[in-house]
């Protein structure tokens, strides 16, 4: 038991993202309203984005812009330590992932609008009832 606590503290970013993910998943499964489900989905995706952003971070590091590197001649002399700079790659990847999640959210909202126009409700149980009333042609 005493081993677990330091583990949680040392990797708190992992625990946080898992908690966020589970909140999102819970909303997607348990909520009855389609918009709430969508918000849950967004939390789920954001949790993963936070996970990626957190793994690029290093203690005591700064932005990955080489200091005093104007024109290249002084950067030539300076020794560059990778440990001084945070890893920008996961952050760049997440730009793409954010675009993907925004696009997904947009498509899903458009579908919600259509569903609302057709059935005048976004509550899932009511939807299920109205769909079952549609005659099979």
């Amino acid at each position: 038991m005493s081993d677990i606590l330091p583990l949680i503290v040392a990797k708190y970013n992992f625990w946080l993202y898992i908690i966020l993910m589970m909140i999102g998943l819970y909303a997607m499964i348990a909520k009855n309203n389609l918009m709430k489900k969508l918000v849950g989905m967004n939390i789920f995706q954001t949790a993963i984005i936070l996970f990626y952003v957190s793994i690029g971070y290093k203690h005591g590091a700064t932005l990955p812009i080489i200091q005093g590197g104007h024109g290249g001649h002084s950067a030539h002399d300076a020794v560059i330590h990778a440990a001084d700079y945070i890893n920008p790659l996961p952050h760049v990847l997440m730009l793409t992932a954010i675009v993907v999640s925004v696009a997904t959210f947009g498509v899903a909202m458009a579908l919600c609008v259509r569903i609302y126009q057709r059935y005048q409700t976004l509550e899932e149980d009511e939807l299920r009832m109205r769909v079952s009333e549609i005659p099979h042609e």
Binding site: M41, F44, I48, L89, V107, I134
Partner: protein
């Protein structure tokens, strides 16, 4: 297994890039052209896919003669830059994707005009983007790029499914989004863990680094998350719930391309992750998951087959058959021996062709009769003999009748099952073949008889029919085959016009029949040349 092949650093030409970019540019211009004239977007889509087909075939020829190709996007070298990497396996899948997408576009133009006349240009734009996604997923050599392209494929399929059935299409698409996002997110998370442990995203590079750290629990987490994500996307049995509705309510023109391709491409991704990224030694020697996964596949096969049995709509029935076939491929890949993997890879090709042929026939029937509930199918052999001939051929191939391609992949899968001692998998294959026989002969029988004059019409695919079909199937495949021949022969006779009045024959237009004929020929050819395909493409890949 990984890298006996020689990499040519610079391919002779830009074909790999053209292959993926042609439909992307096509989508852009098809969208623009719709402002000028709606019909233009169709021709642009056709031209773009024709270019892709040409590029795919030329890349396949290139890869067969000279080994795997690596194409560096914008000239950046792989561990840093993003590369397309095409070897024998994905060259074959690329040709399959391009060919099916192109042929379906020709076959579907009339369906699209009938079903969604006001949205035809948007349909073609999204269709092209869907194909871009599939081609990119197949061609890429980069793990994160794979995620983005999977999402491009998925997003375009969400929108296309929503174009379908006006009452249920949107709900089916929304359900698919919820589950699809979870799948893609799991995969993305798995890639994150891989990146933490290896610091790279290039598949070959990651594979090289993973060799040294196989015991790591982070690698295990990454593997489980990636595979789980891909399983959700391919509708592996307990995770299949989105598929039947999504495919049944999609517009026909899209259902015909998503059903054969989407799940098969995801199976390809799984095999790629297993063979190229994590390595088969890691999966089968370090981890001990294979037995459990083969059991899961057995359950998937049986569940898919029996759920198909309870359907009363042809589209839904075929959707559950896809769930069953996914079980074949996952099980084959996880048997852990060469025949099993060969069977799984060959089945990607064969199942793509068979499912495509079945959905082409379904599309033709829908075009003429508006729907395919079993109660609306009576008298089809008389009315649409050519469509039904193609349907029977594809159905027999799914059942696994010898000269057709479905038999050969099943043969390899059964061989693999025996070699691995997985007799339950072999048994599941055989039971599901029998169930498929029952399913298809039930449909053939309903289609064979003309609608009874005194019957109440739309409410009677009665149990006597299916009981009879079970009886027919129980006699074994040789007799079943002869029955089917008699059936299709009889259908052709009706078509010739000696029995029913000429007005009764209502066959789909030639532009829909010719593709079906072409694919039927491909099913026979893939069966006849199965040995050649295995020897020139699959075995060299597995070496």
């Amino acid at each position: 297994m990984n890298c006996a092949c020689v990499y040519r650093k610079y391919p002779m030409n830009d074909m790999p890039a053209i292959l993926v970019l042609a439909p992307l540019l096509g989508a852009f211009f098809a969208g623009l052209a719709a402002w000028i004239q709606k019909q233009l977007s169709y021709y642009i889509a056709l031209a773009a896919l024709a270019v892709s087909c040409f590029a795919a075939v030329s890349v396949l020829g290139d890869v067969i003669t000279a080994g795997a190709v690596q194409y560096r996007m914008a000239g950046w070298a792989p561990p840093m830059g993003i590369a397309l990497r095409i070897d024998l396996l994905n060259a074959m899948v690329l040709v399959l994707i391009c060919a099916i997408a192109f042929v379906n576009l020709v076959a579907s133009v009339k369906s699209v005009a009938q079903e969604i006349p006001d949205r035809a240009p948007s349909f073609y734009v999204m269709y092209l983007l869907f194909v871009v996604g599939l081609l990119g997923v197949t061609a890429t050599g980069d793990l994160f790029n794979l995620y983005v392209l999977i999402e491009i494929t998925s997003l375009s399929s969400y929108t296309l499914i929503a174009l379908g059935d006006r009452d249920r299409g949107h709900l089916a698409a929304l359900n698919y989004i919820f589950i699809g996002v979870v799948g893609a997110s799991f995969y993305l998370l798995g890639v994150g863990y891989l990146y933490i442990t290896t610091g790279s995203l290039n598949m070959a590079d990651v594979a090289g680094i993973l060799k040294g750290i196989q015991g790591s629990s982070a690698v295990l987490t990454a593997f489980i998350l990636c595979i789980l994500g891909v399983w959700i996307k391919m509708a592996f049995f307990p995770l299949h719930v989105w598929l039947p509705n999504a495919y049944a309510f999609a517009p026909v023109g899209f259902a015909r391309v998503v059903a054969p391709l989407m799940t098969k491409v995801m199976v390809y991704v799984m095999i790629r992750l297993m063979v190229t990224v994590f390595g088969l030694e890691y999966i089968f020697e370090t981890l001990h998951l294979a037995d459990a996964v083969v059991w899961l596949a057995v359950i998937a096969i049986l569940a898919g087959a029996f759920m198909a049995l309870s359907q009363t709509d042809l589209k839904k029935m075929l959707a559950y058959i896809i769930v069953c076939e996914i079980g074949y491929m996952v099980g084959g890949a996880w048997l852990g021996n060469d025949p099993g993997m060969t069977g799984a890879i060959l089945h990607i090709l064969n199942d793509g062709l068979m499912t495509f042929a079945l959905f082409l026939a379904v599309g033709n029937i829908i075009y003429m009769r508006k729907q395919v509930a079993f109660s609306h199918l009576s008298g089809l052999f008389a009315a649409m003999p050519w469509t039904m001939a193609g349907f029977v051929l594809a159905g027999l191939s799914i059942i696994g009748v010898p000269p057709l391609c479905g038999f050969f992949s099943k043969w390899y899968l059964v061989l693999g099952a025996f070699e691995a001692g997985a007799y339950h998998f072999a048994a599941a294959l055989i039971i599901s073949s029998l169930v498929c026989a029952v399913l298809f002969f039930k449909v053939f029988e309903i289609c064979f008889f003309p609608p009874a004059a005194h019957a109440p019409g739309p409410h009677a695919p009665g149990s006597p029919l299916s009981a009879h079909a079970i009886h027919a199937a129980g006699h074994g495949s040789s007799e079943a085959e002869s029955v089917a021949k008699a059936n299709s022969g009889a259908g052709a006779n009706f078509g010739a016009g000696d029995h029913p009045p000429a007005g009764k024959m209502a066959e789909a237009p030639v532009s829909m029949l010719a593709p079906l004929g072409l694919v039927s020929a491909a099913i026979i050819a893939a069966g006849v040349y199965a040995g050649t395909i295995v020897n020139t493409i699959i075995l060299p890949f597995l070496q």
